[in-house]
């Protein structure tokens, strides 16, 4: 049982997708200007990433591996993710227009989030089973949301700070992201009993 906990905690903190694996930097830099959008993006990504890991596991184990078509993984995963994002958007638009309004255009942007593709591929590389895959996916998504929200909070404050002119905007955000990555390195070893 503790094995699953390690996977979860490891994905959230120790091997954080953004700050340690350096995946999904596009939304991390792009959608972190405001806290509200960061919350929305975090929630949407969490849902899509969890769904995508499950679906890609099924596709890989039922379709690709039996036929020896492992080289089609990237292609088929991308198609699956795109479809899931589309589906999610439609369902949300129908069921909860308010949520769709808060997420706005960030929902379709999830397709281009490389963390969503990276996590299923890592699942296969690590040889996770279905439950492990889902946990790893969910953990990575929570980790992504966590750093995105933390980062958005920091950036909101940086807006008011006396940043030297040439560092304003993305430059200081990059520096901040680097410092955050350093801080997250402190979690290394948290799961050494794995």
């Amino acid at each position: 049982m503790s094995h699953y906990l390690f996977i979860l905690v490891g994905a959230v903190l120790v091997n954080n997708v953004v700050l340690v694996k350096i995946l999904g930097l596009c939304p991390f830099m792009g959608v972190s200007k405001k806290l509200e959008t960061a919350y929305g993006m975090g929630a949407a990504t969490t849902f899509v990433l969890t769904m995508a890991t499950g679906a890609s596991y099924i596709i890989d184990h039922l379709l690709l591996t039996p036929f020896g078509l492992e080289y089609l993984r990237t292609l088929s995963f991308i198609v699956t993710i795109a479809a899931i994002v589309q589906l999610t958007e439609m369902v949300i638009a129908k069921t909860s227009p308010t949520l769709q309004q808060t997420l706005g255009i960030y929902l379709p942007l999830i397709t281009t989030n490389c963390a969503v593709l990276g996590v299923p591929l890592l699942n296969i590389a690590n040889g996770h089973n279905f439950v492990e895959s889902l946990l790893f996916g969910a953990g990575s998504a929570v980790g992504f949301s966590l750093v995105l929200i933390l980062f958005a909070g920091i950036r909101e404050r940086i807006e008011g700070a006396d940043v030297p002119t040439h560092f304003r905007g993305v430059a200081i955000a990059m520096v901040t992201a680097g410092l955050m990555a350093l801080a997250f390195m402190g979690f290394a070893g948290l799961d050494k009993y794995q």
Binding site: L64, L69, S76, V79
Partner: protein, 187 residues
């Protein structure tokens, strides 16, 4: 053989996913576009048509559909462009026209011949008057759109910038003074 298999698998995936999406598109169809309302809330509602669309709503529609750029609204100014860019996640672009201060139309009542043409042109019914009677502008309702200027046959309408008064005066952003302020003279 393997190539055919690969194509078959991908085709199968495409068909399944396509069918699912197609079904969802019908099942979860939404009428109207909530995005249009959000865009419209940012637009200044001057209804001036300077963007090339007949009013703010059509422009909002065009933005939502991706047909129009976000920098076509001069009354909204750079701030409006900024807010649209934030909402839509697009790049901020410089305004397509010159940014003007807020204005209000004034009818020179001596020259006005009472032709009612400006009344018909005014998008917000901010001009009162009747045929062969003097017209005047309800300044509080005027959006400064300038649509009444071209139809006037005697050119009796002019635009005036709204000047600062005690009611609309704003506290300025505190600036750091480099040197002490010049001593004020007490009378």
């Amino acid at each position: 053989m393997e190539l055919l298999l690969a194509i078959a698998v991908m085709a199968l995936g495409a068909v399944v996913l396509g069918a699912a999406l197609g079904y969802a598109a019908i099942k979860f169809r939404v009428e109207g576009d909530p995005l249009v309302e959000k865009i419209e809330a940012i637009l200044p509602q001057t209804q001036c048509g300077q963007c090339g669309y007949p009013g703010c709503k059509p422009y909002a529609d065009a933005i939502a559909k991706g047909e129009a750029d976000i920098n076509l609204c001069p009354p909204g100014g750079m701030e409006g462009v900024q807010r649209l860019a934030d909402l839509l996640g697009r790049e901020v672009k410089p305004l397509d026209a010159e940014e003007k201060p807020k204005q209000v139309a004034i009818i020179d009542e001596n020259t006005c011949i009472g032709c009612t043409l400006c009344i018909q042109a005014c998008p917000v019914d901010a001009i009162v008057g009747a045929a062969k009677q003097m017209h005047t502008i309800i300044a509080g309702q005027c959006t400064g759109c300038e649509l009444c200027l071209p139809p006037c046959p005697v050119e009796c309408i002019r635009m005036e910038a709204i000047t600062e008064n005690i009611d609309n005066w704003k506290w300025k952003y505190p600036v750091v003074e480099i040197k002490a302020a010049a001593p004020q003279k007490a009378a």
